[in-house]
């Protein structure tokens, strides 16, 4: 090796690299830009199939856009002019017709529907797909169960183009549950050929391949980098989308996602932090859309199984001690709906999430604390570090306010990977947490968070027979359409939950999206992912 040559060549490379290379657009590329959407988010999918083991939320987005379901929801315009899915109105997607009977629902399929490989969609594909959803285990099976869809025998092929879903019991959530992401229709012929003895549902294949009939197909997927979609021009599930191509890039740095939007290089940045949203709204360069997350709330949760929070008075004291408005301003920059300061803890309508009657009232809190006879409390506040930008300021404010009641607390930051298992242990005494349900009904929220089945989301371990009776009665009333009885029970369980406060609601957060001014047609969906099919680029 000759050092001099080496040195020369090194400095040469360095000098050459320092000349900034201008971005050169060939005309073909500029054309492609106008029909292509560039979407940036923090994370990308880990699996293209929602039935897969451990598919993450971005993976749901791919499933939603690449597979069709029998039915979907209509879109409605909200009072603030933004678009949202309509919880109560269904529209056919693969089905051309839905007929709800007493103990079953029958779907006629669109005859022209084809999978991406050209094979027609038949009733057998639908049955195989629904069988798959209730059989693979894990999340998809649990989600199906939420709508009382449990057995393969419930899905019946009537003829080539007709499928019937039998009910095991009357349940208002059955039909909405057929419109969530999980019951997508898969190409059973293709997947059966890919199945093996160990993998009878071909989960390995659908992990990185699409076997659907949806509006978009995945043309390239580089995990952790990008997903590239192309429009399926033969789609019959709805109006043909305008965008021919969608490029979804993973940009981990929040600052860079914002820079890309403000420079006009990206078209949509999805799921913004409250801080960015507030600042970008002020600047006014982009369209910022904020929708309240349906059936979702941040709350302070108290473990009622163990002292000191097994004492109702202590829980109420905590609920009166929290600086709610300060919390909302610090954590959410005001971008949330308050769930505090209502007229009373005894609610008189079924609006959900409802405001509690609690507000910042330290004198009352101190009085309740004295009444409880408990003192010298030393406990921990836990939160999921994965949601640290929201939960950390809340925890600090909670810590400070509890100090005034003489409750000493230390803050326990739980890494994202451990949060679920910590929740499952049900040993955390006090935590800041978020829950939201896909199916936007109060009884669904209570089924997960308050019922005696003590699901993982019932972090306070609140088990109460009267509560269960109210929840069951509300579900039963909803199933037969008895509105008065339903309202009475819903008001009942909300009031009971608010008076006994195993969890103290704080606020309902917003889902924030930034788009360029040339983009329209963004719709808020219950699953909190982007639907590319309605997007239009001018």
């Amino acid at each position: 090796m000759k050092r001099r040559d080496f040195l020369k060549s090194v400095t040469g490379v360095a000098a050459g690299a320092m000349v900034p290379a201008p971005a050169i657009w060939s005309p073909a590329k500029a054309d492609a830009r106008s029909e292509t959407l560039l979407l940036v988010t923090e994370n990308g999918p880990n699996n293209l199939d929602i039935h897969g083991v451990g598919t993450n939320r971005p993976g749901y987005e791919t499933s939603w856009n690449c597979y069709d379901r029998l039915i979907s929801h209509e879109t409605k315009t909200l009072p603030d002019g933004t678009l949202s899915y309509d919880r109560d109105k269904f529209k056919p997607e693969l089905a051309e017709d839905m007929n709800i009977g007493d103990m079953s629902v029958t779907f006629k399929l669109k005859k022209s529907a084809k999978f991406h490989d050209g094979t027609p969609v038949t009733a057998n594909d639908v049955k195989w797909s629904l069988d798959r959803a209730v059989s693979v285990g894990g999340f998809p099976t649990v989600q199906m169960k939420a709508g009382s869809l449990v057995n393969k025998e419930q899905f019946v092929v009537v003829d080539d183009n007709t499928v019937r879903v039998d009910f095991i019991k009357k349940d208002r959530l059955t039909v909405p549950d057929l419109a969530v992401i999980v019951p997508g229709v898969y190409n059973s012929g293709l997947l059966k050929s890919k199945a093996t003895e160990k993998d009878p549902w071909a989960l390995d294949y659908t992990k990185s391949n699409i076997a659907g009939s949806g509006a978009y197909k995945v043309t390239s997927w580089k995990p952790g980098v990008e997903v590239v979609y192309e429009r399926n021009d033969d789609w019959v599930g709805g109006k043909l989308p305008q965008l021919k191509k969608v490029i979804w890039r993973t940009i981990p740095s929040q600052g860079n996602r914002r820079a890309l939007m403000e420079r006009g290089d990206a078209d949509i940045s999805f799921d913004l932090s409250s801080k960015d949203t507030a600042e970008m709204k002020k600047e006014g360069k982009l369209v910022i859309i904020s929708n309240p997350i349906g059936n979702g709330m941040y709350s302070v949760e108290l473990n009622v199984k163990n002292p000191p929070f097994d004492n109702e008075k202590v829980r109420q004291a905590v609920a009166y001690a929290l600086p709610y408005q300060k919390i909302m301003d610090a954590a959410m920059f005001g971008l949330a709906n308050p769930l505090f300061g209502g007229p009373s803890n005894n609610v008189t309508d079924i609006t959900w999430p409802a405001k509690t009657g609690y507000s910042d009232n330290i004198a009352k809190a101190k009085a309740l604390m004295a009444e409880s006879g408990v003192s010298g409390i030393d406990t921990t506040i836990s939160f999921d570090l994965g949601a640290g930008d929201i939960c950390e300021p809340i925890s600090v404010l909670v810590q400070e306010s509890l100090g005034q009641l003489g409750i000493k607390t230390t803050i326990n930051k739980v890494p994202g990977a451990n949060w679920r298992s910590e929740m499952a242990k049900k040993s955390m005494p006090l935590m800041v947490n978020f829950f939201s349900g896909w199916l936007d009904y109060p009884e669904y929220f209570f089924f997960w968070c308050y019922s005696g089945q003590n699901a993982i989301f019932n972090t306070p371990s609140y088990v109460n027979k009267d509560m269960d009776t109210l929840i069951d009665a509300a579900s039963a009333a909803a199933a037969v359409g008895d509105k008065d009885k339903y309202a009475k029970n819903v008001e009942g369980f909300i009031s009971k939950a608010y008076n006994e406060v195993p969890r103290i609601p704080l606020f309902q957060p917003f889902l924030n999206v930034a788009t360029q001014k040339s983009i329209s047609g963004y719709v808020y969906w219950f699953h909190r992912q982007v639907d590319y099919r309605s997007l239009v680029k001018a």
Partner: protein, 337 residues
């Protein structure tokens, strides 16, 4: 020579066995239950158990270990749960991305640091020496994510000279055919100059960020070893013999000062390769460091094991290469020594 290499390789085997055992055990004792994590939002104990079984986590530790070693022997690193891909293919696609960035950054650093270090040693106490000290101190004390964000803000957001920091290529450019995995090289081989320019322009900012960070050790090491050599007898003799300053410094002094510099380079390189996570995050660079860290955060065992193993092998190979280089630079060095 070949025999020496073979001898060196034999001594590597116990190291690798140790690495395999330690990484396996470490990932198992980490807190966090992958089955619960991957069971998703609405998990029931039953669905968690189903997932635990499908991940093979219900088996005993020794059983899991035997399966792991058996898979390794067949070149199977297992599957990553977080990206859903085989770890081996993820590493082979991500390692070149990291390596390309690290090499480029290191070359930039060498190009600045070595001449600066030599000048600082030759003109000790002058303004160059002070500049050298300032550059080194600033480089090492500015955290890379800060330099990275600052460069992005300045050159992309404010000036618009640099392309959007969205990874190795612009969203609308197509990647070159995969030959070496290095986009710069692949695009040149295939004669695709548009892609070459796109890849190069994406590379400059992250490479500079890395380069600035690695300036410090290289400059300081060059300066220190040059100072020692310049004070030695043979340099004085060379000067007394009337050789030009250039010949004395570059031919005689620098060659003798290179050994510690090369050692430092090797260390800086292997450190950067795994530790440039922050740069990768800021520039959305699909590298190996961010891959491993993300996997770790999600209790995703296989990629972490694969990463540690790959880095161990690389480190061993790199050390071997540097040892070889020693004999080229300084014939007095013998490998047996």
């Amino acid at each position: 020579m070949l025999l020496t290499i073979a001898k060196r390789l034999v001594t590597v085997i116990p190291t690798l066995i140790g690495v395999i055992i330690v990484t396996f055990l470490l990932t198992r004792v980490l807190p966090g239950d992958p089955a619960v994590y991957f069971a998703g939002p609405a998990a029931t104990p039953q669905s968690v158990a189903e997932i635990r079984k499908s991940l093979g986590l219900d088996r005993s530790l020794p059983d899991q270990f035997i399966r792991y070693v058996n898979d390794l022997a067949h070149g199977n690193f297992g599957n990553s749960l977080s990206t859903g891909q085989p770890v081996a293919s993820e590493i082979t696609s991500r390692l070149p991305a990291s390596a390309e960035l690290t090499f480029f950054g290191l070359f930039l650093a060498i190009g600045i640091a070595v001449p600066l270090g030599i000048l600082a040693a030759v003109k000790q106490g002058s303004w160059v020496d002070h500049l050298c000290r300032i550059v080194a101190t600033a480089g090492v004390s500015l955290p890379v994510f800060f330099t990275g964000l600052l460069l992005v803000y300045l050159f992309y957001f404010e000036l618009g000279w640099s392309p959007a920091p969205i990874g190795r290529l612009d969203a609308f450019a197509t990647a070159p055919k995969d030959i070496t995995g290095f986009y710069l090289i692949d695009s040149l081989i295939t004669g695709n100059f548009e892609t070459f320019r796109a890849a190069l322009s994406q590379l400059i900012l992250p490479a500079f960020t890395l380069g600035i960070f690695s300036l410090a050790p290289i400059t300081r090491m060059t300066r220190a070893s040059m100072l020692a050599v310049l004070a030695s007898d043979f340099v004085r003799t060379a000067r007394a013999s009337g050789l030009s300053g250039r010949t004395v410094i570059l031919t005689y002094a620098f060659r003798n000062a290179m050994l510690p510099v090369v050692t430092t380079l090797g260390m800086v390189f292997s450190f950067l390769l795994g530790a440039n996570v922050l740069v990768e995050k800021v520039f959305a660079w699909p590298g190996i460091g961010s891959y491993a860290v993300e996997a770790l955060l999600q209790s995703d065992f296989a990629p972490v094991q694969g990463f540690v193993l790959t880095m161990a092998v690389l480190y061993v190979a790199l050390n071997l290469m540097i040892d070889m280089l020693y004999t080229v630079i300084d014939p007095r060095v013998r490998l047996e020594a």
